[in-house]
């Protein structure tokens, strides 16, 4: 087993990447909350990762599949209720931002713990 290139580490890596990209999109949406005609952006990556997980045939195949997965940014086509054609909902974006932030910290903790366990094994359980 490859410790530093395992499926779980790649999964966490892509999770963090996706969450960071989503956070950028949300920041952009909030920044453009007063821009006429602006349409909000969304980032999806969980579904793609899920798909790779279900389609993989083996561990090394999964690692390769995960490495080639990229987060997808889509522009919302929703109709706007506002006169200026902007469809950014600040409350919704704030909720999404908080969710993304917590998810990010959760994934970071997971990754950190993974490394701690490795370190524990390397130092013979002495640290």
């Amino acid at each position: 087993m490859n410790w530093l290139d395992s499926a779980s580490i790649n999964l966490m890596n892509k999770d963090l990447d996706g969450l960071w990209t989503r956070q950028q999109a949300i920041s952009d949406n909030i920044a453009n909350v007063e821009t006429p005609g602006y349409k909000s952006k969304q980032v999806s990556f969980e579904d793609q990762l899920q798909e790779q997980l279900s389609q993989s045939t083996g561990n090394s195949d999964l690692v390769n599949r995960l490495k080639n997965t990229q987060p997808v940014t889509t522009v919302s086509e929703d109709e706007s209720l506002r006169l200026d054609g902007n469809n950014v909902d600040v409350e919704q974006q704030n909720v999404e931002l908080a969710r993304t932030q917590l998810n990010y910290m959760y994934s970071l903790r997971e990754l950190s713990d993974y490394f701690s366990r490795l370190k524990y094994a390397i130092t013979d359980g002495k640290s």
């Binding site: 920041s27 952009d28 920044a31 453009n32 821009t35 970071l108 950190s112």
Partner: protein, 147 residues
């Protein structure tokens, strides 16, 4: 680097909202200014906001490297325009700017509208500050990875 450009997004919005606030303050301050450099009374000013499509070398290079269609660049104020709506005539014959009929053209600044705009600018500023702090928190936590 991703960390820094993310902060730029919220930063650009903070700048834009602050400028908007300055323009609103100017409007309120000049609500009864009847004489300007260009002649005639003061006209209400408005900011024009646009999504920031970055065209710098760095952003294009990053786009090529990441091979994605990312144009995440925040917002910018492209221009400040004057409101061309009707001025309000006020009867005040003793005013030095009064016309032959004794009417003074007063600026087309509506204090109610300005106050509303100011509130929405403040709210937008707050929302962007929240986003900024969230990003900062995430980046700071990422630095602690592996400790």
């Amino acid at each position: 680097m991703a960390f820094l450009s993310s902060l730029d997004i919220s930063g650009s919005a903070l700048t834009a909202e602050r400028l908007r606030m300055d323009v609103i303050s100017e409007n309120i301050a000049n609500a009864s200014t009847t004489r300007t450099e260009n002649g005639g009374p003061y006209r209400r000013k408005m900011v024009v906001l646009e999504p920031n499509q970055q065209s710098s070398f760095r952003s294009i290079l990053e786009k090529r490297i990441n091979s994605g269609e990312r144009s995440l660049g925040g917002v910018k104020v492209t221009q400040i325009v004057e409101d061309q709506s009707e001025l309000t005539p006020v009867y005040d014959p003793s005013n030095p700017d009064a016309n032959a009929q004794g009417y003074v053209m007063m600026p087309n600044v509506d204090p109610t509208k300005e106050t509303l705009d100011m509130m929405s600018a403040t709210r937008a500023y707050d929302a962007n500050l929240t986003a900024f702090n969230a990003v900062k928190g995430m980046a700071a936590k990422a630095l602690e990875m592996g400790r």
